[in-house]
Symmetry: C2
Subunit: 193 residues, 2 copies
């Protein structure tokens, strides 16, 4: 019975592979989906943990990033440059209760608490995870010569405003580097160096 519940959850989250994000793959062949994005971010966390603003538990950050987008199975992706949906947070909370609720109680509690910690962005682990969740799509845009910035007509100032605070808080050295790239992409002098 307990195993059935774990397998139901593992089966349900297969749908994350069909949630399409705004960001392209680096070869621009198609858009990234949220499952492979979660895999990639987990690799970022593992390999860039030295750049966290404060002490982090790498394995915890990896787990946090493995599950950070699972609510999108019900709630969909909400792109950083898209319109703000006032009901999104509530939709995601409902999704978390339904999807993590497929698991046996103790695992449900563990995953939902970790997801809420990520969303709250208060702990060191969550702030680092949030920073990477900004840094990775930013890098995609740099490496693809514009990506979602070009698609959505995003300005230099909007990039600084939308990626900066979370990136700087959780991974200031990565943000320092990213800022240079962003300035160079928009042909500006780096801001606030």
């Amino acid at each position: 019975m307990d195993l059935d519940r774990r397998l139901s959850f593992l089966r349900e989250i297969d749908r994350l592979k069909s949630v399409t994000r705004a960001s392209p793959l680096l070869d621009r062949s198609r858009r990234e989906n949220s499952a492979e994005h979660s895999w990639h971010l987990s690799m970022y966390a593992w390999l860039l943990a030295d750049y966290a603003a404060a002490d982090v538990d790498v394995s915890r950050v990896v787990k946090m990033l493995l599950i950070h987008d699972i609510v999108e199975v019900d709630a969909g992706d909400s792109p950083i440059h898209g319109a703000v949906d006032a009901g999104q947070a509530e939709k995601e909370e409902r999704a978390a209760r339904r999807i993590f609720g497929l698991l046996p109680a103790s695992q449900c509690d563990e995953l939902i608490e970790l997801w809420r910690e990520f969303e709250a962005a208060e702990s060191n682990d969550a702030q680092f995870a949030k920073a990477l969740d900004r840094f990775q799509p930013l890098l995609i845009n740099i490496f693809t010569g514009g990506g979602t910035w070009t698609d959505r007509g995003v300005s230099y100032e909007q990039v600084l405003e939308r990626y900066g605070p979370a990136s700087e808080r959780g991974a200031p050295q990565l943000w320092a580097l990213a800022k240079e790239w962003v300035a160079s992409h928009f042909k500006r002098e780096p801001a606030e160096r």
Copy 2:
């Protein structure tokens, strides 16, 4: 310089999202790729760790599964029901040296050793990881009413032979359950219960 190398690696492994596996998504809309498969397997490891044959370090198994297929960026996927390529192991070893070699030396060593441990399938962690790498595609076939077994005309006996040993060694209870499902799928009495 060190950061450049980490980012080169993280950039290079984006290509794993374009390595297509034989297994379909559960909704059969397309085939799974190796990046999202790696994400899914990491979730399996985390949530099914109680079913490992022996004590395992869950975080290590998660990391092992995050990287277990990265060599496919160069070497391609070698499906369980495909023709055996005698040069595959050598191709993968060469791929591992090139791709993990993009990283700074200490991270390269860590990842390549973990990957080789997975391939060797001797440690508890690796045997559990290998078992899941059989169990997840088997479940896909069960949940999609045949999947790659139907595509490739795979028999009941071949399923037992190709999935059984690794699954049973690393996760005997999961294999016991899988065997029942396989028998039911092929309309046989469960073997060796």
